[in-house]
Symmetry: C2
Subunit: 401 residues, 2 copies
């Protein structure tokens, strides 16, 4: 639970590091101006970041008067973070440096219906291979960020759901992956991680002060919110379950307890099942393909001009758009970023469909526009964000600040 | 728009005053412990509140060692704030003191379909009568808080909607009421104001650190969110438009641009229209009654055991419950408080209906319980919150801190 004393302090070090990363290099004066922090606070923050080895002086820039200003840059080889995103039908790992560069990446075996012990062993082997690919020595690795679905006890690193099999309920995911790898492990909601990944990967949404929602679609549908550069967490970091809002009060019961959940009505599992049931389309999906692979095949068929596939994708997109209007009308957000593997090829089609509906139906559209865009890397955003969480956790720790 | 530099500072003075109000009296040491602020910050905050005349010493309490601790209390006669809540079918005014006590209250003429100039003149006359009732001299009045519907430009005090008539679109509400009364006017979203009112009126949700959502039903349906004691604002304070989320993607078009909006499916206007269309129930509604008065009559009929009325109320409550599950699943909130005039008599029926559905369908119910409760004064919560906003604005102003 959030508490007044602990969480209201702004994570100054993380904000300053994000800003230096977004700008490439910056002077202390620029950083103080951009953040609104005092010169004294900025001097302290920069000293701390230099002590941690994350920031160094990279040159000077002429000042309008007085001595030239020293420019600060990120020391990219200071450390590395591993990020993993997984859900039932996908798993991706990356190694990221403090400058936000992805130095290694791998698709990992998807969990499927296997028990958590087997999946953790796979993830640990993936970490070993990723670090080998990146040629990063173990002592430079800060930790592993693990982005996955909820509900979860984020602080304890435990999943609180029997999905996909009963053994997952209460499994100590962080502890077991930590034991298997020897690194500290931080668990994060996958859609929230995608939001942090969007900031890390840069582009228009990368500024520390930016606010945007993420609509995330992989095996299922979720959402995240970055508000003034910080993740929205609600009371237990289990918010923004977009896939489990009802879009049809009389719809089919969902395992979550609700009826007509967006996930059951518009998600990849349903679209794939609909495609398999259609003789004209079923042959486009490999017999053993899981629902996410099936969805990616339907998406390609739609892009190839198959009218049945295009119709299924359009239905899914229209329903996702209605739910996204709900998201915007409740959170009052001016930017929606799409991320997640399901958007790999078909992202622009969903983006355009959502933009059209939002332009027509969002409650506050006459107050401010709502822009829909694709993450610069829809496939890796969540894994990259998970890696970034490891560094954020260090910078936001009371021991560091 | 929120900006990093301006809005991330905690409003220390407001938090400290809220805490003294909630506790009746408190020592500086207690206040520092409860807020997590340092002794130095607390000493500074208390000095500032004493300079403003809002806080004074009210006695001493024995300390475990050393000299007795001086207890601080709120000086209730330091100033007064006027709070007004209005929508098309209702208007209520209150005078509130800094201790949160309602010292005067009046029902004001409902705006109906009249132009804003006429309504502002009515509100100004209401303010004059309220201050007479309260026997408050003009120079003690800090200002007027005006809680109403959106979308709105909260900072400019302007409504950005042509509801109920085109003249309202862009009308400078704050400026015109200020000109008509001679007092500064702050505009606030009505559901958010109800949340602040719930904190002001006390009870279990009054702690500064509390987090809860408000489901607000008056002429229409809205929602608000208090997170760690502070209102959630999104990017333009136009969030939580619960009445304009779609609960039926194929439902009737709404003036807002969306289809099947909760307000059109479950709100008092619709319930009243349904009741008027039923020969067995129509006689319970006075011929000239507006939709909110009509709804209150249907609610009383339901409480009297009329089965048709009870059925209409149940349908409305079930649909509101589905939307409240959406609200909780997106914001991850542990407490939902019902406020607004529509709940005047029928509140407990809605509370029980929502609790039953939330217990069954909320995504994170195994992580934490979600409690539904009624505001201690559903009718006045928004007006009281509007009054409290005036004092908050003073305490959060950079000139004060």
């Amino acid at each position: 639970m959030r508490s007044f004393g602990a969480d209201t302090r702004m994570p100054t070090l993380a904000v300053v590091l994000d800003l230096i990363r977004a700008r490439g290099s910056a002077s202390r004066v620029e950083l103080a101006e951009a953040t609104g922090l005092t010169q004294a606070t900025m001097t302290h923050a920069v000293r701390k970041l230099m002590q941690l080895g994350l920031v160094h002086e990279v040159g000077t820039a002429p000042a309008s008067r007085g001595t030239p200003r020293r420019l600060l840059g990120i020391k990219a080889d200071a450390c590395s973070m591993v990020g993993i995103q997984f859900d039932t039908y996908s798993a991706t790992g990356v190694v990221v440096d403090p400058a936000g560069t992805v130095v290694a990446q791998r698709e990992l075996p998807a969990p499927g219906q296997r028990p958590p012990q087997e999946v953790v062993a796979d993830l640990a082997e993936g970490v070993r291979l990723l670090l080998k690919d990146a040629a990063v020595p173990r002592e430079r690795v800060l930790g592993i960020g693990l982005a996955t679905y909820g509900p979860q006890d984020r602080e304890a690193g435990v999943l609180l759901t029997p999905q996909p099999t009963p053994e997952w309920q209460g499994h100590p995911l962080a502890t077991s992956l930590s034991a298997a790898t020897g690194f500290p492990v931080a668990v994060e909601n996958d859609a929230t991680a995608a939001g942090i990944g969007v900031q890390t990967l840069g582009g228009s949404a990368s500024s520390s002060a930016s606010s945007f929602a993420v609509v995330y679609m992989s095996g299922g549908i979720g959402a995240g919110l970055i508000l003034d550069g910080q993740p929205y967490r609600g009371v237990t970091s289990n918010g923004l379950e977009l896939g489990h809002i009802s879009v049809d009060a009389l719809g089919p019961p969902c395992h979550c307890g609700n009826r007509g959940c967006l996930d059951e009505i518009a998600g990849p599992i349903t679209t794939t099942a609909q495609a398999r049931a259609d003789p004209a389309l079923a042959h486009r999906i490999a017999p053993g393909a899981d629902p996410l692979a099936g969805f990616l095949a339907v998406a390609l068929a739609a892009l190839d001009g198959d009218p049945v596939a295009a119709g299924l994708i359009d239905t899914s997109a229209q329903r996702l758009a209605v739910a996204t209007v709900t998201l915007v009308n409740l959170f009052d957000i001016g930017r929606v970023v799409l991320a997640g593997k399901a958007f790999t090829d078909i992202g622009p089609v969903y983006r355009d469909a959502l933009q059209t509906v939002l332009d027509r139906a969002v409650f506050m559209r006459h107050v401010h526009p709502v822009q829909v865009e694709l993450a610069s890397d829809v496939t890796q955003a969540a894994a990259v964000g998970a890696a970034a969480v490891v560094l954020r956790d260090l910078l936001e720790s009371p021991d560091t600040a």
